[in-house]
Amino acid sequence: MALTYQVDDKGYYGEFGGAFIPEMLYPNVEELRTHYLDIIKDPSFQKEFHDLLRDFVGRPTPLFEAKRLSEKYQTQVYLKREDLCHTGAHKVNNTIGQILVAKKLGKNKIVAETGAGQHGVATATVCALMGLECIVYMGAIDIERQAPNVARMRMLGAQVVAAESGSKTLKDATNEAMRHWINHPVDTHYIIGSVVGPHPYPDMVARFQSVISEEIKAQLTEKVGRNYPDYVLACVGGGSNAAGAFYHYLDEARTQLVAAEAAGQGITSGHSAATTFLGKSGVLHGSKSLLMQTEDGQVIEPYSISAGLDYPGIGPMHAHLFKTGRAHFYDITDEEALASALELSQLEGIIPALESAHALAVLPKLQAKSTEIVVINLSGRGDKDLATYQQRLNLV
């Protein structure tokens, strides 16, 4: 049988995936699993989804030829401008899709987790748009670190609840959102923000984000006369923007898939979030994947300067891409990401999110040829990271 990078009918990508959930969540996840494909393949759903992506999100996002960056690295760099999406990042592609699914399932309340607050804002936004009640769990420490996004969510009418358990960051916010769903199984849909969680979430989120590579194909054809690049670069925390950027190239052997993980202060420093380098197979938040953990199987709190990348796991699809060698993974330190953020700002006039800066930082290491085409998924804009940039880049 040919190697496949898509999810199989049991919810696995190779050895990774599945639905490791307590019985309390089984009816909800099973309801979603049995209906999600029918719902999202329905022409009326597709029309509503794509109309909203166009008129509300502002899609298609441009594919921008970064000429000065290309000149510097002697290759042909194109930026997929997800930073120009409404709410400032690719996250909204998924929340639009999932809120439409939630409505089809008859749910009138939404729960979500958020780390840096981008997914929380994207969820609060679509809940306001659709008039659904919204509760967002956010680690108590992240609430302090990301005050502007907390204010945005509240302004949009969402209730932001502090996750006070464990390490009080993204993984704990995810635990609390799952607990909330256990306690409110009938009327609530859980909008997971990345390609993580029990099957069918990784597949469903990847499908909603796949609009990114769908557009890249059409835009590249127009610009360079072929629909595939030689490289697609994207950062990976849980991995939703990478899943979207890779999706339509999974079986395109001429395209190398390149993922950037957050090495934090370095993969041997003890302050890192580079899961494929430091993790091993384990179960967290409902799926089996690569996971940063102790020898005893306790989950390790990761570190990255980027709040969107400090997740101890990685989506099961990416674990499979790593294991099979289909995608190549680079570890990018805080310092490298900061330098690339500054470089993009000054060469192209675009201030990237810290997460996206990790993908940009692969460019100096890639050694692409001058004839080769490199697409970098610029997943979000840097406004939310200004305080960090100000401090770390001495912008005073």
Partner: protein
């Protein structure tokens, strides 16, 4: 015969199963707590294996897990603490925990250790039935371990029947849609659910857990099942106890209605 089955066969009154987090309140308290539970009259003991991310548990049990982990508890250390279990404790013992630490310890090695120290069964809420049947059942059975499944008010009848067919020992009936310790007391709506399941004539007996905290809720739950499980309420007692053995014995006797 597995000790769990023996308890259900010989029980005169409602069965009390008490959950205690291992290594809590202090790392070395595990065996003291187990012995006191037996002395007080607990019929089954469930030992919680601490985990960093226990999604099915509410605040009380989460915190006890964290305290235990911070004090250095590991799966290997727990088995070390339990090495003389069967010299001191005769009631059935279950290990309750999450699948990841078991995977890292090694499923087969874990089951072997359970058998060695005299553990009778496992409760792993994030191990789904389909995975259990395809990957774990054969190993668990080889080491004489019962795997206890959960059902909830949202579990469809057809699935309850399937769970009943793969269960051994008893079915853990979650009293309401909730995490552990989220609610206390039993409503009339819950009593209807208990009775609905009771009418299904399942092959396995049921113990009702979640929201059972005192003698009143214990008796209400036991009216439509073989007994009930107390977790968070007991962990709270452990957290505040200054005379562990005496407090535990008094608590258990109070629930069982013993003098």
């Amino acid at each position: 015969m597995n000790r769990i089955s023996a308890v259900f066969e010989s029980a005169k009154g409602p069965i009390l199963n008490v959950y205690a987090t291992a290594g809590f309140p202090h790392l070395g308290d595990t065996m003291t707590v187990l012995e006191a539970l037996q002395e007080g009259g607990a019929d089954i003991i469930e030992i919680g294996m601490p985990y960093s991310d226990p999604v099915a548990d509410g605040e009380t049990i989460q915190q006890s897990n964290q305290v235990s982990l911070d004090q250095g508890m590991t799966v290997a250390h727990l088995f070390e603490q339990l090495k003389d279990l069967r010299v001191k404790v005769q009631v059935p013992v279950l290990l309750m925990g999450y699948i990841n630490p078991v995977l890292q310890f090694g499923v087969e090695r874990f089951c072997q250790k359970c058998q060695e120290v005299g553990v009778d069964g496992l409760i792993l809420p994030d191990l789904p039935m389909a995975e259990y049947e395809s990957e774990y059942q054969e190993i668990f059975e080889r080491y004489g371990l019962y795997n206890i499944f959960l059902i909830t008010p949202q579990t469809a009848d057809e699935r309850i029947r399937r769970i009943d067919s793969v269960s051994q020992g008893f079915i853990y009936m979650v009293s309401s849609a909730s995490t552990t310790g989220a609610k206390t007391g039993i409503s009339s709506e819950q009593e209807l659910y208990f009775e609905r399941i009771n009418q299904m004539n399942l092959k396995n007996p049921r113990l009702i857990g979640f929201g059972i905290s005192d003698r009143e809720s214990f008796l209400k739950a036991s009216a439509s099942a073989s007994g009930a499980i107390i977790g968070s309420a007991f962990v709270k007692l452990l957290a505040h106890s200054s005379h562990l053995r005496e407090d535990i014995v008094t608590f258990v006797r109070g629930i069982k209605g013993l003098k």
